[in-house]
């Protein structure tokens, strides 16, 4: 009988798996051993030590109530935040510019110090994490912002330091430190190894590519990067109330004509970013290593902070900021007059005033319409913190002898701005109904006024006065847009004394009003700096539109359309928009049908036409238009919102979710998107998701109860009340001059 012997496996076939197993086992042992023996990294040991005494008052994220996080999820040792002075060894010009900038002084300058000490004293140091995420990131990430902290703070003088900005790895578009801080490194090798401790300048010089990898990445040049701090809100944790949006500069840029991401602005402009305006190339007289052709991207970020350079007596920085503010950012135009002679009820409308023939006599009541335009700013004017910045319009009427007959928007002898000035400010109201004029944002309950001019838009200020009987010759009308940082109440409060801080005149307009006959002058075709009349009419129309004076806006847009053939399609869309606001859909439809027929790719016209289609229930046509707009402008939030709505109506919930998701990818706090997500999730039976969205929506939406608080406040402050309504007139008989 033959017994089958087990088949012998060739030795060679056995050897390979045995060796592999042995190797794997060995490797596993080695790994376990190495883990057992490797001491925790210095960062981990540091984080563990800090965590022992750190107050995690706001939950597991140690950096709340800011929106900042770190790549490691925990603290970063202070010595990793290399002092900017070291960077200045090679980056001489960038360092010198930064040193005088608002970033370089973001923590130590006295105005911020006053405010942050107030919150520290009133609420506790833990709450300052909200502020320091953007004013002193190193203080936040080292874990210094907790009671009785032993963390040494040599970085305080650096504020937003070189290494802070250049170590940021990612952003989340939420503002208030909406970024992820990486562990600082001076060199990052090709394999991703990060090197910092002990790295000498010579080692950096020997390996510039690794230094560049450590310091630069595409995100640093994106507007969302700047938006991680130039976007702000007061969260519930700070005010024990609810989310209050403060400002959102990067979002405004995204919606402006300068981003090229939205078809809705009134004008088409060349693309600009934060950097292209605020980091223009500047001479590098100190031979900065990064300079090209003797220039480098400015690290002084000239914008609007005149207070810091004035306080520290840095004339170069002050000059740069003033020059920036004066560089045609805003415009002012004494555009129209309304004349009402005594004993006549009808008003004569004269516009544009410098192109018109008319007569003026003593006793006439005049209303001057002054148009203020946000001409060249990629965000609103003023963009941020309007509660303690001061932008206003000064208007004066002088006789031939230089005597001021009437005035508005002047600085009183005590340095304060006259109360009834036409201004672009936010009035914050506290829970007790008082005026929050010291930027105690944690005590804010509501806004009684929040005036600003959005990018590319306009505002109109109206000044009413009576021509004196006894004057002759010409009256000089002057309008100036002026800007001061800060309000006098705040600077006096901070400095403990009354000091005149600089006021910058950003734009000026003059008109000489003859008693008797006035003759219009034709536009000078050779004057390339003058704003063309069609644009003046259009700006006036925009201002009227934004003040909800739609019939008057229609007239102004009609004039603009008649005067410029190139702009005509846009002006007609503007007119249609005003008709839509008046619910005159047939008139709007006729205009838009004509515009779209002549130019089937005009996204702005297509969008407005879609609004009409939706009103008429022509949903397929509306959707076709919106999809066409989104093909050209995929990040247009208004179109995404409309498409989401259409998807909802069609019960295409997947499509709706996609639309609202795309909106939240741009602005994670878009209240409309969260509301609609709540509704869609309910339809889909996704209860938990719906609950989450409902909670977010409840926090983001306006508190209806706050309105009565704002009204109570305005009743107590009649000047502010006048200013807070869209259409108001400044009666100058109450503020006569000399």
């Amino acid at each position: 009988m033959k017994v089958d012997r087990p088949q012998r496996i060739p030795r060679r076939r056995l050897t390979t798996p045995v060796i592999a197993m042995a190797l794997l086992t060995g490797a596993a042992f080695a790994l376990i051993k190495s883990h057992a023996e490797t001491p925790p990294s210095p960062s981990t040991a540091y984080a563990d030590e800090i965590s022992k005494t750190y107050d995690f008052k706001f939950g597991p994220n140690p950096f709340s109530p800011s929106n900042a996080s770190s790549t490691t999820g925990t603290f970063i040792p202070g010595e990793m935040f290399v002092l900017s002075k070291r960077c200045g060894t090679c980056h001489t010009d960038a360092h010198a510019q930064w040193r005088q900038s608002a970033h370089g002084n973001a923590f130590r300058e006295p105005f911020y110090q006053k405010n942050v000490k107030d919150i520290q004293n009133q609420k506790g140091i833990e709450f300052t994490r909200h502020c320091e995420s953007c004013h002193n990131p190193a203080a936040l990430f080292t874990g210094a912002l907790t009671k009785n902290s032993k963390v040494k703070r040599p970085f305080d003088d650096d504020g937003v330091s070189c290494i802070s900005c250049h170590s940021i790895q990612d952003v989340n578009s939420r503002g208030i430190g909406g970024y992820t801080m990486g562990e600082p490194a001076l060199l990052v090798k090709e394999d991703g190894t990060r090197l910092l401790a002990g790295i000498t300048d010579q080692q950096i010089l020997d390996d510039i590519p690794s230094h560049k990898r450590a310091m630069m990445r595409p995100v640093l040049k994106q507007p969302e990067f700047c938006g991680s701090c130039h976007k702000s809100q007061v969260p519930r944790e700070l005010n024990d109330y609810k989310f209050l949006r403060a400002f959102m500069v990067a979002d405004e840029l995204q919606m402006s004509s300068f981003s090229k991401e939205s078809p809705h602005p009134f004008y088409v402009r060349d693309k600009e970013t934060c950097n292209s305006c605020h980091m223009k190339r500047e001479a590098a007289p100190l031979f900065d290593v990064s300079a090209k052709q003797g220039k480098l991207a400015s690290h002084r970020w000239a914008a609007a902070n005149t207070a810091i350079p004035y306080f520290y007596k840095w004339q170069e920085q002050l000059d740069a900021v003033v020059k920036f503010l004066e560089a045609d950012a805003v415009g002012v135009d004494i555009f129209a007059l309304r004349r009402k002679p005594r004993s006549v009820t009808a008003e004569e409308f004269i516009a544009p005033v410098n192109r018109s023939d008319f007569a003026i006599a003593g006793g006439d009541r005049i209303t001057a319409d002054v148009v203020i335009t946000n001409k060249n700013i990629g965000h609103s004017f003023p963009p941020e913190l309007r509660d303690f910045y001061e932008a206003y319009v000064e208007f004066t009427v002088m006789d031939e002898g230089g005597k001021t007959l009437y005035r508005s928007g002047f600085i009183k002898p005590d340095g304060y701005l006259e109360e009834s000035a036409h201004n672009y400010k936010t009035y914050l109201v506290k829970a007790d109904g008082g005026y929050n004029d010291k930027h105690h944002i944690w005590r804010t309950r509501t806004f009684a006024q929040n005036n600003q001019i959005h990018s590319g838009r306009s505002d109109v200020a109206r000044y009413q006065f009576t021509i004196p009987e006894n004057v002759s010759g010409a009256l000089q009308l002057t309008a100036r847009v002026r800007y001061r940082r800060f309000t006098r109440v705040f600077s006096d409060y901070t400095l403990g004394k009354s000091v005149d801080y600089p006021i910058v005149t950003m734009a000026t307009a003059r008109y000489s009003l003859q008693i008797g006959d006035n003759h219009g002058k034709p536009a000078d075709p050779n004057d390339k700096t003058a704003m063309p009349d069609w644009r003046r009419w259009n700006n006036y129309g925009i201002a009227l539109f934004d003040q909800r004076q739609y019939p008057l806006a229609i007239e102004a847009f009609t004039q603009a359309a008649a005067l410029d053939e190139k702009y005509r399609p846009m002006a007609l869309v503007n007119r249609a928009m005003a008709h839509i606001e008046l619910e005159q859909y047939d008139e709007a439809a006729t205009i838009l049908d004509g515009v779209v027929k002549a130019n089937p790719t005009l996204a702005r016209g297509l969008f407005q036409q879609a609004r009409i289609f939706m009103k008429r229930g022509q949903l397929d046509q509306a959707e076709a238009n919106i999809r066409q707009v989104l093909t050209a402008y995929p990040r247009d939030r208004m179109s995404l919102q409309q498409l989401g709505e259409l998807c909802k109506i069609k019960r295409d919930y997947g499509g709706a979710l996609e639309c609202y998701g795309r909106i939240l990818a741009i602005d994670p706090e878009d209240v409309g998107a969260h509301y609609n997500l709540m509704l869609v999730y309910r339809k889909l039976g996704r209860t938990e998701d719906a609950k989450r969205e409902a909670k977010i929506f409840a926090d983001l939406k306006d508190d209806p109860g706050a309105l009565s608080l704002a009204n109570q406040f305005l009743r107590k402050h009649p000047e502010m009340s006048n200013e807070s309504v869209y259409w108001h007139v400044h009666d100058l008989s109450r503020t006569q001059g000399d």
Partner: protein, 132 residues
């Protein structure tokens, strides 16, 4: 047509010679302009290299009168005595070695810059030396 041209040349040889001369001058002129442009580009590039890597300490004028230059006692390249007293290290080869490997407070640029750039920088630096 060629026959016509040849006939013209035969009839008016003086004119033909003048035309040839003009063409030659144009070609020579273009060549000179191109060479000048190339030289200017080269000089611009060396100037840029010097500004970005050396001038922070040595100054744009080579005098070393900058904050870092004074800190590290950078020499004055416009000083004839300095060139004379340091004759041992001012050969092109020696200076290129210093730029490459560093000296005292001066870092080494050997890994950052190409050898040809270093040579160009040394030549650029020599221009600060006063004429004898």
């Amino acid at each position: 047509m060629i026959r016509n041209v040849l006939s013209h040349i035969h009839n008016r040889p003086g004119l033909f010679i003048i035309a040839l001369l003009l063409i030659e001058l144009t070609i020579i002129g273009t060549g000179i302009a191109q060479r000048r442009a190339a030289n200017t580009r080269r000089a611009d590039r060396v100037g840029e290299l010097f500004r970005n890597n050396c001038a922070r300490c040595h100054g744009a004028d080579g005098r070393g009168k900058t904050p870092t230059g004074e800190l590290f006692k950078a020499p004055d390249f416009t000083d004839a005595d300095w060139w004379q007293q340091n004759a041992k290290i001012t050969s092109t080869r020696s200076l290129a070695g210093i730029v490459s490997r560093g000296k005292g407070g001066m870092p080494a640029f050997g890994k950052k810059l190409k050898r040809s750039d270093i040579t160009a920088l040394v030549n650029h630096m020599r221009r600060f030396r006063p004429a004898k």
